[in-house]
């Protein structure tokens, strides 16, 4: 109840669109786990399964924003657990660079989030998505979206 009161009224009706790239081996399985465990998380997320978080080209991220996403989420395996050895580490470096790019373009880098979620971490998936949706709600619609 307390949480509900704290949300600013101007953002009450805004439902952000979030594109989530989830890796086949960990994050997607984690999302599955969240579903099987009947955990609740906001329905703002459109999951896209990729074989590895390393498959997420920066073009995908920018394209998602350009097509109207308010936030982009990338879920991968924990460092060291990548099914393809180091795909997730590459993504980590790319995301850091894109955050810098977004900042220079005038987009809040918080709209892009990378998290490590293992196949058993259904709880973490639900929690992180909830957090991220709240965060993007606070930020309001992406300025890229209005064009």
């Amino acid at each position: 109840m307390k949480e509900q009161i704290e949300i600013e009224p101007k953002n009450m009706n805004f439902e952000p669109k979030i594109v989530a790239f989830l890796c086949n081996w960990c994050a997607y399985a984690g999302a599955d786990m969240a579903g099987v465990s009947r955990l609740k998380y906001p329905a703002n997320v459109v999951p896209i399964k990729v074989m590895c978080s390393g498959r997420v080209d920066i073009e995908f991220i920018l394209n998602a924003f350009e097509k109207g996403a308010d936030g982009v989420f990338i879920g991968g395996c924990h460092p060291g657990d990548c099914h393809y050895v180091n795909g997730n580490l590459r993504t980590r470096k790319r995301v850091k660079m894109v955050k810098k790019l977004l900042e220079q373009m005038g987009i809040n880098p918080k709209r892009l989030r990378l998290e490590w979620i293992s196949a058993t971490e259904g709880n973490k998936f639900a929690k992180v998505i909830k957090e991220f949706v709240e965060e993007v709600k606070e930020l309001g619609p992406s300025p890229w979206r209005r064009k």
Binding site: R90, K93, K100, M105, G106, R111, K147
Partner: protein, 300 residues
Amino acid sequence: MKKIAMYWGAGCGGCDVSLLGMHEKLLDLLDEVEIVFWPCAIDAKYEDLEKMEDKSIDIAFYNGAIRTKENEEIAKLLRKKAKLMVAYGSCAIEGCVIGLANLYNKKEIFDAVYLKNETTKEKILPNKLPEFLPYLKTLDDVVKVDAFIPGCPPPKPVLEDALDALLKGKTKFGKEIALCEECPRKDTKPEKIEINRFYRWHEKEDDGSCFLAQGIICMGPATRAGCKAECISANIPCTGCMGAVPKVKDQGAAIISAIASLINDENEDEIINSIEDIVGTFYKYSTAKLLPKGRMKDGQ
């Protein structure tokens, strides 16, 4: 005899010179074409262009970007008069270096140029110039474009290839591979590149091997081939003026993806933070495409 026209929009004039830079090949070209409008080289006024019949020009080349109302009007007029409209050079295609101005708005640009410039004594804003558009546009933002000749300015081999194709009526030309394929330093590229630090050109003595392996940013892997690696032959890394390889949409995204994966995991933050200007480095020629409506403003 084909009729051609060339117009100089918002650009440095290098494109006009590049057409002359074909040297004796230009004479062969002149046997085949008649130049009806080229403000830089022949005496033809806008009225003359207006008087021409619609679709009477076979090929109209437009170089430079669209920065003022005048540029926009002439682009539309040329489109009306020409059968084929060709974007000539990087400015017309994707905004080029002057497209970096889209990181700032009109007021900031005017302030920097006319009002807060230390070397300008009289602080006057121009009032008799054609209207300055809020943001820089590229040619295909304004009119339909039939063909693109990339490069800043289009290098000789690219230009010869393009003119050859265009005079035969073909609008598709050029190579579909990345610059690394024709790079003279191709053989020096190691199997695995690991970047421990980025160097700027002047910070390191060039040892003649692959620039990326030396830690110097080179746009080669994401840039279209065709220029015969002119810059690299002169020991300068590629900055990407030829634009993306045809099957890639976003050159900057492609090179960021590629370069990020070469960075050493151990001190990645420090290495990444050493690139201060991401847009200016990786979108040097395509900022106008990345930010067509200028820098965005995000709530917080």
